[in-house]
Symmetry: none
DNA sequence: TATGAATGAGTATTCATTCAT
DNA sequence: CATGAATGAATACTCATTCAT
């Protein structure tokens, strides 16, 4: 009888075991040989579970995104204003903590996906975007219910995400103050309604 | 007497003669050999005027940005609202016209600059950003004077630029509606006062 | 009671089920995985019946040669001159009909056997050659009896076969007129005895 | 001033310096690295003079064919019958002497060219064929003038070449007597007059 | 008897940059 | 001033075969 292997599980295991490798070496410097060695299997085995190096990278990125998502959920659960939640969301990869590499990797991935407009790459980008869309959407929906957010128009979910992408990109520049810029943006969304008007 | 050629002028000439080459082939597919051939000089000569391929690309990009700037000035001069001007500014590379390649090239350049965090690259990015900052700054300043823009706080120049960068990046995704997203963003800036006041 | 399967029979079944696969994909592009899948068994099972991929290919080739042999027998039975029979024999794989692939496969096989001079490969080649030798030998023997062929010397069976191999090889060249060349060769064998000399 | 290099000459030099390498390692086992090392240049330099590995092989093969051609010319000059000349021509690669490898290489090349039906490969094969065609053509023309060859019909140049290709291929088989087969073939060409005339 | 998961060797090619002339 | 010949590092992917179950 043949050995039975859960393919998806093994894929995930390989990806998980290479998480650190990716974070350390970066995406472009990752070689399939390294991946195989790190995962403790032969190079051929890698191609038994992934069709292409790109696919491996996607899988590893996905595990990282899963991690980030969990952190976001933690933030979600905190009892602070929606604005603050969004701020913490957006600032997560910019935090000093362990997160430094996230920023680097995300930036690299963004760079790669801007140059490689293959179908697979775009599809993956969209998939990732949608995940974050739903998380942010929830926060904003809540915020609107609580009156934190203006009641008119569609929720500025996409606007926030797009701005955040710009934030990641622009943050590469020395004199760019991420926190300040993000704060300014959130001001726009949460309509600080200049000076006490509205009322 | 030997013909004296201003070094800067020759640099510029080389850059100008390669503008189309860049727009056609893209940045990564541009080879120094092609550049030399197109400029009608030897490969070695190129390195007489530029220290590195990167520098050549910067020079060519600069000529392209000059072009774009001129187009922006034309828009500036149009008699429309500041909001409309900003919209036209931002949408310029997304226009059908000839501009198609601008978007592609800018995206590619953004991608490259996200992966290559060398000092020169960052410095160049900052230089470019500042050019656009000043142009947008003028429009916004005017807008505020005319009352189109809220009077409080700093002008959201950086916010707009950062959002625009995100726009360029996200526009690679099939289902992304650039115009709509940009419009939504401009709404945040220009019509912040929730309950129909302003009017 | 377990179903008893004759090992040779199963070998033959596997070979037969892969005939089309070989004809379509060619020899080199045939993978053992494909073979197993097409034969409806596991990869390991294939190696239960064949020692090596080469052996599988031999077995499939043999089924194809069987087919060709049958066609040759049909030609044999036609009431035409021996010369015409030989011509039809030789031209069979060059015919438009379905035979197109036969030529391709035979050429590929010839190429492989020229590069892989293993004992098995040579033995197989000899086996195949001998099959055709006997068929052609019969025709020529008849022809001599009927006076179609010169009476002196050994029958040019080998000569014809060797020439035919050259024909298959050379026919890869665009400007090669197979029919004409073959005809010229047959003229030599059938000694058109220039202009009525003989006498 | 730039260094001036005669490109064709350098190509030839590289090819010449790798002649032995090809003869020893065979065509398929030749690596570009080896070629570069043997030619005493960098790998990149090889690609300065050849577009592809295939081209290098062609060039080396050409030098070998040049050698063979010279030997053929020597044979040409010998004072023997045309039949004997053709025999010596054809048997050249089968001779014990140094020629052993020629046969091997030619066989390998034939094998490769049967599997790789690219335009370049076919073009090269045709080029080679034409060279031999002209040489053999001369001998046959002479032979006919001297009455050694029948006076009617076109010279069987192509027939001989095609047969020779078959000879090279079939000679891989143990029990194949090249000399005898070739002799039989030449009999067909030179002694067509059936009934013992000859005279 | 049947299976299929695991394996790993092996190689062509590009192009920015230098420096002898 | 100008040239262009020379350089060499670096990496994904296939597939026949085995053997534990």
């Amino acid at each position: 009888m043949a050995i039975v292997v859960n393919k998806d599980e093994k894929r995930r295991n390989i990806a998980l075991s290479c998480r650190d490798l990716l974070l350390e070496h970066g995406i472009r410097n990752l070689t399939v040989s390294q991946i195989a060695r790190t995962a403790g299997v032969g190079k051929g085995t890698i191609y038994e579970y992934f069709g292409t190096k790109e696919e491996i990278v996607f899988a590893i990125m996905e595990t990282i995104i899963d991690e980030v998502s969990q952190k976001l959920e933690t933030i979600e659960a905190q009892s602070v204003t929606a604005r603050e939640k969004l701020f913490r969301f957006g600032m997560l990869p910019f935090g000093e903590e362990c997160a430094g590499n996230y920023l680097q990797i995300y930036r690299e991935f963004l760079g790669i996906s801007l140059m490689d407009l293959s179908e697979e790459m775009i599809a993956f980008s969209q998939r990732v975007r949608r995940r974050f869309e739903s998380m942010i959407g929830q926060i904003m929906a809540e915020a609107r219910q609580r009156g934190e957010l203006r009641a008119d128009g569609p929720l500025p979910v996409g606007t926030a995400l797009t701005f955040w992408v710009g934030l990641v990109a622009d943050s590469r520049m020395d004199d760019f103050d991420v926190a300040r810029e993000f704060d300014t943006f959130l001001d726009l969304i949460f309509a600080p309604t200049p000076s006490g008007e509205t009322a």
